[in-house]
Structure formats: structure tokens, C-alpha cells
Amino acid sequence: MAELHREARSGFGLVAIMARKDLAAGAIGAALGLEAPTRPGIAWADDGIALIGTGQGTWLAYAEAPPPFWAEALRERLDGLASVSDQSDGYAITRLWGEGARTVLQRGAAIDFHPQAFGPGSAATMVIAHIGAIVWQRDARPTFEIATFRSYSDSFRHWLDQVAAAL
């Protein structure tokens, strides 16, 4: 049985950022002090804040332990540059790691998780068990994080239980 660890994350911050019309990713990144990815991927800043590219001119800002009213602060910092919506409570994040993690994802999502195709820093939106998911890879252990809409948590967990049991 392949090793698999899982953990439901809590207390994180997740904020949707959509650039205003014709605004380059560079301007968003500059305002936040990091390089905003221009393709599906996750970029980390020194302060533990990350930007996940989820589409053209669209990112999720991610912080594991954000200060209070982080979303509101981001909105102010990006005033005139981007539209900002707090999604910290909209998603549940599951962290998966261990040698079985890749197999679990491969049994859910129809994208290639081979290290050649998806490595640390990769991110993608996909569907797992009929549930929309955003997945990114943190490290080569490998550690993945899966964000799914909060209301689907029970269904997603049930799917994960079944797949994990079959490893």
C-alpha cells in the first residue's frame, strides 16, 4: 500500500484577483511584490504568500495564515489594478503528500501528473469526481494541495476515502 498523508487545511486565505482590462500581469505582481504567473502555476513570495494562475489575467492569492482582513487589504493594494473577491471561505483545501498522492490525483483528474508534466510550482484547474478543483504542487515529496468548493467537502472526502482505501 502506497504511503499517503492527507490533511484538511484551515485558517488559510484565498482571494480571487482579476486584472482590470488590458492590465499586464507584471503590474499585479509588482503591487504584491512577486512575479505573477502568466500560465497555470503557483509562484511564492518570501512572506509565504503565493499567486496561483487560474486563467487569463486571473489569480488566486493564497496565504496559509493571513492577517485579519487580508482580502480587504489586498483590495486596497490593488485599487484600480484589479477586482478582488474574498474566497477564503468559498474553498476547502486538502493537502496530500506521500508516494501515493500522485496516484490518487491520477485516479481523479484527467490531466497528467507525471513529474515531467506537473512538478513543484505547477497548478491547474480540473474536475475530480464531477467536482471542480484547483490543484497545485508545493514540493517534490510530492505535496499537492487541492482546492474544491466548500459545499462539496463531504462528497469530495467520500471520493478521497474510497480512492485512498484502494491504494
Binding site: A19, P68, S85, Q87, S88, G90, A109, A117, A165
Partner: protein, 983 residues
């Protein structure tokens, strides 16, 4: 016992017990159910579909048409399982099918006497007349007789899952060509998936006595598999059948994870569906040996020559004691040699071809009688006892035997290659159909390409793999293999005419005369032949029968086989259980479920839930002692109208629409204007589809100059989000506006009723909720529990009411706080039913009225349609049909007697008019009992409804009840002046 004393790839140290038709037998690890039956001398394994003829095992592989059994018992019983592909396990239980009362005495074999009744096209002929008999007699008869095995009708106790694979090269089949291809690509470092339906790879190398690279064939295969297993870039999928090729270089496969076990270990799926995306694929599926069509060719004891070799060599099981070999190929001679080596007497080798020197020499070395230019004309005996042979000189000879090995030639197994519409072409060189065009980047190799000789097939597999890799820009070294001599000559032999039934399709009982009859009756196209005779339409999809049938049709119509053509193969190439296609998604996991953050709280409070799309919503909260849902709902409505009720409305769609042009976009989406909405205010809006009909409604709030918050109905949330994205990305990309779904971010509760303000003042003591400070349709952002929250003064129920939204993680805390603070105010939770009753009392349209056939004017909201701006649907809403004054309009309905129930869906007829469609004037959309008024009420859409308030109308419900006489009235039943909402 027919088990040979030595040899075979079975593990004699691991004996296994199994039961077939109630009798206990023994076998060994490595056996299939079929080989174990052969080893136990069991010859009769099933009854045929139409005629119930006794049938034995024909093949040793997945193309088997005869040996279909029900595997396992109880809920795990699986009908129509091919015994030839079932790995034997200890305690296996199987039973034969399609016989009554028993396999050896099958009374339904009487069908044979009624043979003419079941000739080609019998479905169409026999059951045509008289028509009245169809439903009562013929259809039940056919249904009873159709199909072979029976389902258990019990829920499947097993689980299934799926996996997605990606590779540079998918190798389909683990025979010589497949192994050579996988080795070539694997050694070159490419990502390779090797899918083999067998548990042990090697294909024919396991079944024949060949050598590769100076090793016994099976040892070479094992060495190749060991090497492949050691390569990290190679994924081996044993027990995995590729069953279809699809667009996008996708292949579907079933991995039989636990079918070789008595039952799956805990947590393990029985089978796994694989979807593999392969940049290139090699079709190394080998070839299927075809039977010869002669009288009695379906008798138990008549077996494919390749199967005879397989049972002898791989399973050390002799299918008979005295054999005749009937061959049109060199491979038939290899079977003759296998028989001799295994100690089975060979009475004669009947070769339809003229004598060749090589064949004569082989016959001499084996000391068997060889008849060249001869054919077997008939098999005798219920179970084979003898065969008649017509010699080259025309004389008839009879040979006693209990086994006939027939070798009619080889058909490349190309089914998957024609899945996407590439029609196979005839090859005169191999007397079979081969792939000319293929799905993109799929290439056949080895026997599947008509390259039959072992050495050539190995080389072909390596070459095809190297060619695929070179297209991917990857160099590969083509390995060289040495293989023992393997003559692969053949001559076509399509038919031996005779009097006895000669079967073409064993599984569907289609004979040579059926094909001839079909041709005679004008069914001369291959596709018509197939449907008229059902040739090739059984679960084996004609793997052993198709070409013989086509050859017979060609002969009957005076054409060549190339001219007659062949059919395409559709997925699945082999039968696939429905369970594995559904995977995780069955029963309560059929689709995912969405739960609000207060779901647990509602559950604890005794809620009954209902489905709204994928959401679970509390329908009502019954209290102990309430024994009728009406009682519960009336209480919830009264508590809200007279005190304060709380309803979870988190499932409504919520969309942040932001940016400098947000107001401009909303003006184009809604019939009314939003750009003028003041910050801190909410407004009700209606949006149309392009065709002018109402799409959805909801409130929109402005929190900042460039920040709007749109709500939608629960079920239309995704559709409206899509609509907004389409509008801003495709229709008006010049607008600077962004949109994000925040449905999941906010938990929202309606707090409604005259005491709602009192309750919220306790919750938010620092906020002035007076009418002056926070009037109807006001909205504001605030902080609750150290998180951002929002308060709206909105009302769906028609009372003084608010909606309060907090981040979803705070939802349960908020609902607890509200009930703790509201206990002495009589705070009452209410569900969607009470919500529905109150909105009907207020005449608010909801899903039943926003049903895709109504206009804003129909719903009484025509005056909201702005004339000062353009919006989606404006032009089309002016169509004559949509502005016709005769259109049905929203009205209220009350029973004249004050008590009769009006039901949703009932039709509205003028008083005294006969109840026919011509008099139909509309229908009831929503109905309820109004606890506020104490009578049943309803909403309906009635022709010219607005002008007809006060009229009497008949509510006609022929299905569920008697007609009710009702009065037409305004749709707003309660507080028509709207005093209550303003506090």
C-alpha cells in the same frame, strides 16, 4: 482426467477446487476455468442461443462464443462470462446458462425442430402478424427467450474506480509484437504503457512451442516482462483490456483488478476503468483464428486448432483422446505436432490445400495419415464421435475421433483500429481484412497487421515502435530477435457445403443457409446482412464469424469479398460491465452533493432536506408531535408572519461584478437599470435570454462605485455566471468589468417577520436599524465575529425582513447566535416549503413561473423594461408572439368554496366548456394552502389574465382529482399594498 502428466505453465504445487453446475472439480493455479474444465474432461458447457444446441469450448481466448457461463453466485453472479478468460481461483463457482431443466437435458432444444421458424429475419417475419398478438404474445415470448444468462437483480456489492494514463506509446497487447514494441520504446526511455488482457504476457508464446533468442518462448516473454518491469518509464497493466479508441488519442481500458480473486480485498475495486491518452499507440492485438463452416461444426469436441495447442502447451490439458486436424493453414500442422507430442492420437490431418513437399515431410516424421486437397464434410454425434471427410478424389471416408482441431486461417484483430471510422481493406496476400487508414497515430504491428510468422512479427513490433518514437523526435535502437521457424502459409476455405446445419455465428446461431437466404431475399449489403440475420451482433461481436459470413454473402451474390466489404467495429471491443463505467458514481454518489455551512445545524434541528440542483436544502423542520408536513409548514409560516423566522438562503447564486464598467454591463444584462443604483442600495432585477423570454431574477446590491453584488436563483446560478462571462468576454470585451462567483464564500440567512428587527438589533447592537437609517432595500458591509459581513433589507416573504451574510465558515456560528438571541422572540427556522408558501401568498414568481416560456410582461413586470437603454433580449421581446395580448398572464386563483385544493399543473377552462385542448386557457403554476388566509391559493398563467380578475374559471385536473371552480384574482394575496415590508 485429461490433464497431461507433464508440462504446461500451471503450478502443480497449487491445487485449486472449483464447482461447475453443482459438481466439484480440481485445477491448478495458472488454469482458466475453461482449461480446468478441459482438464476434467468436461465437454458440454452451454446451450446455444436460438436452437439450444449443446455447445463445447471453441477457443482459448476472449473471442469465445460458446463457453459463456454465470460466474459466482448471489449478488456477485455475473452472467455471460467467457470461461476462457476466467482465471481459476480456489472456491470458484460457475454454472451453465440457457438450459432448462439441466445442461444435458435441455427441453428448449425442441426449438431445433422448429428450425424454419428461426431462420434469418425471424424477428420480422414470424412476429409480424397478427399485429394484436405483438404486445400480448410475441414480445413477452421474445423477451423470455432472449439473452443467455440472467442478472441476479441484487445490488452489486463491489466497487469500481478509474485512473487516467498518459504515455508516449501505448502498446495494446502483450504478445510477441507487443513485447518487442514495448522493449524498443522502453529501452529508448519513452513513457510506455503496456496493456495486456492476459495475466501473464507472451500471447502465442505461452501457447506454442517456439523459441526466441534461444529461449523457450514463454521464458523469453518472462524475461522481457522482467526487463520492462525494471524500467521506471514503463507501466505494465496486466489483466487490462483496451476496449475502444476515441477522439484525442484517447483509449479506454478495463483493468480487472480483483476478478482473479474470490472477492476483492477490503477497499480494493473489482475493476478499474482506464482512460489513456497516448501520443502514439501500437495495436499488437494479434489475430483470431477463424472456424470452417461445415455441417455440425458446432458440436462439442470441434475446437479451434490454436485453442487445442493452447490447452496442450500452456495448460497441459488434452481436449480429446483421438483427434482429426482439419486445416487450411500451416499453423494447423503445428497443432498436429503438438497433439502427437502430447500423446494424443491423431487419426488424420485433413488439409484442404494441395500437397506440398514440406507438409508431406512433416506428416511422414509424425507418422500421421495426411489427406491433401480434402475437406471435413460433417461432424457426427451429439458430442463429437466421428467426422466424414471428402478426399481429393471425391470419395468419402469416416474417421472416429472425439476432437476435431480446425484451422481456417487467421483474421488480424483490428477492431479497435476501425473504432473511429477507418474501414478495413481486403488483403489478397493474407486472405483477411487489414487496416489501411487508422485512428491518428495508431499503428498495427505483427499479426494484427497480417505479419503472422513469429520472427517477422517480433521485428515488426520493434520497427513500428521505433517509427512512432522517431515521429516524437526520439531515437530508438531497433533490437534484433531470432525466432524458431514458423511457416505461416494459408489458403482460403470459406465453406464446405452440406446438408447438416453449418454454423457461421456460433453465439447467435446463424448458419450458412441463413446467409444464403438473406442474400436471396435481397439483403445483399454487409450492413443489411448483419442486421437481418444478427450475424456478429452477439456479445462476441462476430470475432470468429464475421469474415466467414461476409465470404458466404460475397459468394451468394457473385462478388469478391473485397467488393462485398466488411463492417466497422464499435467500442467496446469486448463486453464491459456497466459498473466499471459508472465507477464511484452510483447510488448516493451518483452525483456530488452540495451542503450549506448550516447543514449540520439543520440536521440536528430535525430538518427534512430536499434537492435543489446539487444542493441539499432544508425543506421543513418538523417538531415532535407534528404528524403532517402541512402542520409543520403552517406553523413555520405563522411563526414568521407573526414573529420571526430564519431561513438558510445560502444556495442562491452570488456573483461579484466589479470594475469601472460594472454598472454598464448590468444595464445590458437586466431589463431595468443598475448604473443609477446608489451605493448601499439593493434593487430587484430581471434578465432575459437573447430570445426575449425571462432567464432569471434576483437582487443586485451596490457596495461601491465599481463593486456590485448580484444574486441569482439557486438552480440558475451557473447558467447566469456563464451568461455574464459570455457577455463580458465575447459580446463586449471593450468593457472593463470582471466577474467572480462568490456563491460559496457567503452563508446567507433570511431573517423575516415583524420581530426580525428586534432580533438583529440584539445581534448587531452597534448598528442603527431604524427605518430612517436602514430602510427597505438598504444594504451595508459590517463586521461580525471579526470578519466581514453584509446586511441587506430584502424580503421574499413580504414581511419586514433582512438577509445577513457572513463568510461561510461563520455560518453555523451565526445561525446559533441568531437562535440563542431569538429564543424569547420565538425565532423559528423555516424551510423551502414555508418559503414557497409565503412567496405564493405574495405572488412572487419563482422557478415554476420562470420556466423559460414566460415574458416579463406575462409575469406582470413589463413596466420594468427600460425604454431608455438596450439590453439582452430587448428586440426579441418585441416579437408579435411575445407581445400578443392573448398571451397567458400571471394571476391568482382561489377556490370558490374556500376549501377545495387546487393542484399545480391543472388546466384552466372556461366554465361550461367541454374539457378539450381547444378550450385550454392556461394552467396552474404554483399552489399552496395559505395559513395566513386559511384557504388554498394558487398562481397560474391564464390567457388575458390581467383583464379577468373576478371571473370564475374551472381548474381541470383529470389525472388527480375532480374539477375545482375558482375565482381569478390578483397574484398578490397578502398585503397587496406592501405595508409590511416597510416595517
Amino acid at each position: 482426467m485429461s490433464r497431461l502428466a507433464n508440462g504446461g505453465l500451471i503450478d502443480r504445487a497449487k491445487p485449486l477446487r472449483f464447482r461447475f453446475d453443482g459438481r466439484d472439480y480440481g485445477g491448478f493455479a495458472g488454469d482458466t476455468l475453461a482449461s480446468a474444465l478441459v482438464a476434467n474432461g468436461v465437454r458440454l458447457v452451454g446451450r446455444s442461443f436460438k436452437y439450444h444446441r449443446p455447445r463445447g469450448i471453441l477457443t482459448a481466448a476472449s473471442e469465445e462464443p460458446n463457453a459463456l457461463v454465470t460466474l459466482r453466485e448471489g449478488a456477485r453472479a455475473e452472467p455471460n462470462t467467457r470461461a476462457t478468460t476466467v482465471p481459476l481461483f480456489d472456491g470458484l463457482v460457475a454454472s451453465s446458462q440457457n438450459r432448462w431443466p439441466s445442461l444435458s437435458l435441455d427441453l428448449m432444444a425442441v426449438n431445433q425442430l422448429a428450425g424454419p421458424l428461426f431462420a434469418a429475419g425471424f424477428y420480422y417475419k414470424t412476429f409480424m402478424w397478427p399485429a394484436a398478438f405483438w404486445e400480448k404474445l410475441y414480445e413477452p415470448l421474445i423477451r423470455r427467450a432472449a439473452g443467455l444468462g440472467k442478472l441476479s437483480m441484487l445490488p452489486d456489492p463491489d466497487t469500481y474506480d478509474r485512473e487516467h494514463g498518459f504515455c508516449d506509446l501505448l502498446v495494446i497487447g502483450g504478445g510477441p509484437a507487443g513485447l518487442a514494441a514495448a522493449l524498443t520504446a522502453g529501452r529508448a526511455g519513452a513513457r510506455v504503457i503496456l496493456a495486456d488482457e492476459d495475466a501473464t504476457s507472451g500471447g502465442r508464446l505461452l501457447a506454442e512451442r517456439h523459441e526466441v533468442d534461444d529461449l523457450a518462448g514463454h521464458d523469453w516473454a518472462a524475461r522481457a516482462m522482467a526487463e520492462l518491469a525494471s524500467l521506471p518509464n514503463v507501466r505494465l497493466l496486466p489483466r487490462t483490456t483496451v476496449f475502444g479508441a476515441y477522439d484525442g488519442r484517447e483509449y479506454a481500458c478495463v483493468e480487472r483488478v480483483c476478478d482473479h480473486l474470490a472477492e476483492p480485498p477490503p477497499g480494493q475495486p473489482r475493476q478499474r476503468l482506464w482512460k489513456i491518452v497516448a501520443r502514439h499507440a501500437v495495436l499488437a492485438t494479434g489475430a483470431i483464428e477463424r472456424p470452417v463452416v461445415f455441417g455440425g461444426n458446432d458440436r462439442p469436441g470441434v475446437m479451434m486448432a490454436s485453442a487445442v495447442s493452447t490447452y496442450l502447451n500452456r495448460f497441459a490439458a488434452a481436449p480429446g483422446e483421438r483427434a482429426v486436424v482439419f486445416t487450411a493453414t500451416d499453423s494447423g500442422w503445428a497443432t498436429a505436432r503438438d497433439l502427437v507430442r502430447s500423446g494424443v492420437a491423431v487419426a488424420a490431418v485433413v488439409d484442404s490445400r494441395p500437397a506440398g513437399e514440406a507438409a508431406r515431410r512433416i506428416a511422414r516424421t509424425m507418422a500421421v495419415e495426411a489427406l491433401f486437397g480434402a475437406v471435413v464434410t460433417q461432424a457426427h454425434g451429439r458430442s463429437l464421435r466421428a467426422v466424414s471427410v471428402r478426399t481429393a478424389t471425391g470419395e468419402t471416408r469416416r474417421f472416429s475421433c472425439d476432437l476435431l482441431a480446425m484451422a481456417g486461417g487467421w483474421n488480424p484483430a483490428i477492431g479497435i483500429g476501425s473504432n473511429l471510422g477507418a474501414r478495413p481493406v481486403w488483403s489478397e496476400a493474407i486472405h483477411g481484412f487489414v487496416l489501411d487508414a487508422t485512428p491518428p497515430d495508431l499503428a498495427p504491428a505483427g499479426a494484427a497487421r497480417g505479419v503472422f510468422a513469429l520472427g517477422e512479427a517480433l521485428a515488426d513490433g520493434a520497427r513500428v515502435a521505433a517509427a512512432a518514437l522517431s515521429e516524437l523526435g526520439r531515437a530508438a535502437t531497433v533490437p534484433a530477435f531470432t525466432a524458431s521457424e514458423d511457416p505461416a502459409g494459408s489458403a482460403p476455405l470459406w465453406h464446405v457445403p452440406g446438408k447438416a446445419k453449418a454454423f457461421v455465428d456460433f453465439q447467435h446461431d446463424v448458419t450458412d443457409s441463413d446467409v444464403e437466404l438473406a442474400a436471396c431475399e435481397g439483403f445483399v449489403s454487409i450492413e443489411h446482412l448483419k442486421r437481418y440475420t444478427t450475424l456478429g451482433m452477439a456479445t462476441d461481436q462476430g470475432k470468429t464469424s464475421q469474415l466467414n459470413g461476409h465470404a458466404l454473402l460475397a459468394a451468394a451474390t457473385g462478388r469478391t469479398i473485397a467488393e462485398a466489404g466488411t463492417v466497422l467495429s464499435r467500442p467496446p471491443f469486448l463486453p464491459v460491465s456497466i459498473g466499471v463505467l459508472a465507477g464511484h458514481h452510483r447510488g448516493k454518489d451518483f452525483r456530488p452533493v452540495r451542503k450549506t455551512s448550516a447543514h449540520g445545524w439543520s440536521q440536528a434541528r430535525g430538518a427534512t432536506f430536499t434537492d435543489a440542483g446539487q444542493w441539499k436544502r432544508a425543506q421543513w423542520f418538523a417538531l415532535p408531535g407534528e404528524n403532517d408536513w402541512r402542520q409543520t409548514i403552517d406553523r413555520e409560516v405563522n411563526a414568521t408572519r407573526n414573529g420571526v423566522g430564519i431561513c438558510d438562503v445560502s444556495t442562491l447564486g452570488k456573483i461579484d461584478v466589479q470594475g469601472p464598467d460594472a454598472g454598464a454591463l448590468l444595464d445590458r444584462l437586466y431589463i431595468n437599470t443598475f448604473s443609477t443604483l446608489a451605493v448601499g442600495k439593493a434593487r430587484y432585477g430581471v434578465m432575459l435570454r437573447e430570445d426575449g423570454f425571462v432567464m432569471d431574477d434576483g437582487t443586485t446590491t451596490r457596495f461601491a462605485e465599481d463593486r456590485f453584488f448580484v444574486t441569482t436563483t439557486t438552480v440558475n446560478a451557473a447558467k447566469v455566471m456563464q451568461h455574464i462571462d459570455y457577455a463580458r468576454q465575447v459580446l463586449w470585451p471593450e468593457l472593463d468589468v470582471q466577474a467572480t462567483s462568490v456563491t460559496e464564500q457567503w452563508a446567507t440567512y433570511a431573517v423575516a417577520g415583524p420581530r426580525s428587527r428586534a432580533l438583529l438589533e440584539r445581534l448587531l447592537p452597534d448598528i442603527d436599524l431604524s427605518d430612517a437609517a436602514f430602510p427597505y432595500m438598504a444594504a451595508r458591509e459590517l463586521v461580525w465575529n471579526d470578519r466581514s459581513a453584509r446586511l441587506f433589507r430584502l424580503s421574499f416573504s413580504g414581511d419586514l425582513a433582512y438577509e445577513i451574510a457572513v463568510p461561510a465558515s461563520q455560518g453555523e456560528a451565526l445561525v446559533q447566535a441568531l437562535f440563542a438571541l431569538g429564543a424569547d422572540l420565538g425565532a423559528t427556522p423555516y424551510g423551502t416549503e414555508a418559503l414557497g408558501v409565503m412567496r405564493i401568498e405574495k405572488g412572487h414568481p419563482a422557478g415554476n413561473e420562470l420556466n423559460g416560456t414566460t415574458t416579463a410582461t406575462d409575469l406582470g413586470m413589463g413596466r420594468m423594461m427600460s425604454a431608455r437603454k438596450d439590453y439582452i433580449g430587448r428586440i426579441m421581446a418585441k416579437r408579435p408572439g411575445l407581445t400578443d395580448p392573448d398571451r397567458p398572464a400571471l394571476v391568482g386563483l382561489r377556490p370558490i368554496d374556500g376549501t377545495s385544493r387546487i393542484r399545480g399543473g391543472a388546466h384552466l377552462l372556461p366554465e361550461g366548456a367541454p374539457p378539450v385542448a381547444a378550450h385550454d386557457e392556461g394552467y396552474v403554476t404554483s399552489a399552496a394552502h395559505s395559513p395566513t388566509l386559511g384557504t388554498p391559493i394558487a398562481l397560474g398563467l391564464l390567457r388575458r389574465g390581467r383583464e379577468r380578475h373576478g371571473e370564475r374559471i374551472v381548474v381541470h385536473d383529470p389525472v388527480r382529482g375532480a374539477d375545482v371552480l375558482a375565482q381569478v384574482c390578483d397574484a398578490v394575496f397578502v398585503d397587496p399594498e406592501g405595508v409590511r415590508v416597510r416595517g
